[in-house]
Amino acid sequence: MSVDTATVAKIASLARIKVSEAEIEAMVPELNGILAWVEQLGEVDTSQVEPMTAVIPNTLRLRDDVIDADPLTGGDKRDAVLANAPAAQHGFFGVPKVIE
């Protein structure tokens, strides 16, 4: 499978990265080189193999339902949450107006 300029433009749009025509042109051969290389995986017979789910055997722990159990995972910290916001206003994050 290889990509053309239209595909690269579409991927860039999905990834929300603005790219110029010239950047797209440059990326097409680069991405095709990488994709052609990774496609050698197709040689491997994996018909009897389950995809890896956990790299080290381990089970998912579930936590107790306790509010603000740990200050690092709990709420009630609006100032900390908004401290780095480019456009914090009245306790909200501001974004360009969205029309739904």
């Binding site: 999905l14 306790v66 995972t73 709990g74 009630d76 949450v81 994050f93 107006k97 739904e100």
Partner: protein, 498 residues
């Protein structure tokens, strides 16, 4: 089969409806962080670093949310998957801080199940109908955007971001607005019984994505549209009505239905295309590498099952069978958690106050609750939750009637006084001298007076105008200020009138 049809210019059209219900899981803290879930808090006050997707933040799942979803699955007799996992659904939106929603696509927690909606002739549901439920998966809610605070900006509040939702996906088994409405109502009833969702649709705890398509009978499914976030049973029905006729209009005028996301506008009762979500959907789902597969053991599942309450269908059957209630009363009393809880408490108190088995007093309690008490509450504009009197107080009142201390009509009067004063029934009866008079001597004396004063009517009665009996009863009761025991009054009157 429902016979709901849209009559178009080219003939009749069937409607096919599938619903995706997002139900907020009842939990103290969020699905993957420990911030609170309470409704109506100050903006961004219930947001953790995790909910705001700060760099390096990681999710840890809340056991209670998993437990509630499993219990819900059990309540719709669904397959519970002991091995499931979380996937990321990738898309960009201002209410989605991570740039992906943690959801379950490939291996949901709950598989195939179903629920039954009851026949309702009036609504056009001729018979009970089983609606298939494809799956229930657990996922994160998004934040909230506010558009009215600033001329050029929208404001983002992440309080809701990361709250646990169950997405309950039905099969496209519904064919009329009424069936869809009944499905949502039944689902809500089950969720509230189970306690996994409070069902507060006005607070957004339950929201429906309504998938609608139309087709000519016998033809394959048409292209569907999805109307997002419809938040009441009535609006769900309106959405379907509007969307179905819109689609018929489009098709009959030679157009095509576009598979798209639409928005319901409650003020106009219509739907419109949602511009912001028109992007090509390619969510690039893949297993969330921050989370391991979710594996549930038998002990966990057993505990979930053991904690399930009696469910609506079973309860209704028991009310009719064991308690001997009418189908109507059983349906009314099992409609909601608050109602049956009140009824069952009242029933227990009433039985013990009168030294009887619940089944012996169930009809009395049910009839009184539905015909007297609900009416009285209605007049006050109150619901059971904020009833001015407790079920213990109500049981005392019923016991007074049951033992013949007061009559049914006096009981109404006592209830009103109880509402006004909060006093117990016994106290009121005592204070206001409302005890029923059963002493035959006293009643005989009154009856004699009445018969003497109405000699002409006595004569007419004896000549065969037996309908006058009621007149004599009324006069006697009036003379006794309503306190005469109606049974004794009847007996004495009958004897005296010959």
């Amino acid at each position: 089969m429902s016979t709901y049809r849209i009559q178009g210019a080219t003939g009749d059209w069937e409607v096919v409806i599938g619903l995706e219900v997002h139900a907020q899981v009842t939990s103290n803290s969020k699905l993957f962080s420990s911030s609170a879930t309470a409704f109506g808090a100050e903006p961004n006050s219930q947001v953790s670093l995790i909910d705001a997707a700060m760099p390096g933040m990681l999710p840890v799942p809340n056991r209670e949310c998993i437990r509630q979803a499993v219990r819900t699955g059990m309540a719709i007799e669904a397959q519970i998957n002991k091995w499931s996992r979380f996937d990321r659904k990738n898309y960009f939106y201002a209410d989605l801080p991570q740039g992906y929603q943690i959801s379950q696509l490939y291996h949901p927690l709950v598989g195939e199940g179903s629920l039954t909606i009851e026949a309702d002739e009036k609504a056009g549901i001729p018979a009970d109908k089983v609606i298939g439920i494809e799956r229930i998966h657990v996922e994160q809610d998004a934040g909230k955007l506010m558009h009215d605070q600033h001329p050029t900006m929208s404001y983002v509040d992440l309080n809701r971001s990361g709250v646990a939702l169950m997405e309950i996906v039905s099969r496209p088994d519904m064919t009329s607005p009424a069936e869809a409405g009944a499905y949502v109502a039944k689902l809500r009833q089950i969720l509230r019984y189970v306690g996994s969702c409070d069902g507060n649709m006005d607070q957004g705890s339950m929201r429906c994505d309504v998938n609608v398509s139309v087709r000519k009978p016998g033809e394959p499914f048409g292209t569907r549209t999805e109307t997002k976030n419809v938040n009441s049973v009535r609006f769900v029905m309106q959405t379907i009505e509007h969307e179905a006729s819109r689609q018929v209009d489009v098709l009959e005028s030679g157009g095509k239905i576009v598979q798209e996301t639409r928005l319901f506008d409650p003020t106009t009762g219509s739907t419109r295309s949602m511009r912001s979500k028109e992007d090509a959907h390619d969510y690039r789902y893949f297993p969330d590498p921050d989370l391991l597969p979710l594996e549930l053991d038998d002990a966990f599942l057993e505990a979930c099952r053991a904690s399930l309450p009696e469910l609506p269908d079973a309860k209704r059957a028991r009310y009719e069978g064991e308690l001997g209630l009418s189908a109507y009363n059983a349906a009314v009393l099992t409609a909601d958690v608050d109602t049956f809880a009140w009824f069952e408490a009242l029933l227990a108190e009433t039985a013990s106050a009168q030294g009887k088995q619940p089944a012996e007093v169930a009809k009395q309690a049910a009839n009184w609750l539905i015909s007297e008490f609900f009416g009285a509450l209605n007049k006050l504009g109150k619901s059971l939750e904020d009833s001015p009197i407790s079920h213990e107080q109500a049981a005392e009142l019923l016991a007074l009637v049951g033992k013949g201390t007061i009559s049914g009509s006096i009981a109404k009067q006592v209830l009103e006084t109880m509402f006004e004063t909060g006093d117990n029934a016994g106290v009121i009866v005592e204070r206001e001298g409302l005890k029923q008079e059963s002493d035959t001597g006293a009643i005989e004396a009154k009856v004699d007076e009445i018969l003497a004063a109405n000699a002409d009517k006595v004569a007419q009665y004896r000549e065969g105008k037996v309908a006058l009996f009621g007149f004599f009863v009324g006069q006697t009761m009036k003379a006794m200020a309503g306190k005469g025991n109606p049974q004794v009054v009847n007996e004495i009157l009958k004897a005296k009138l010959g």
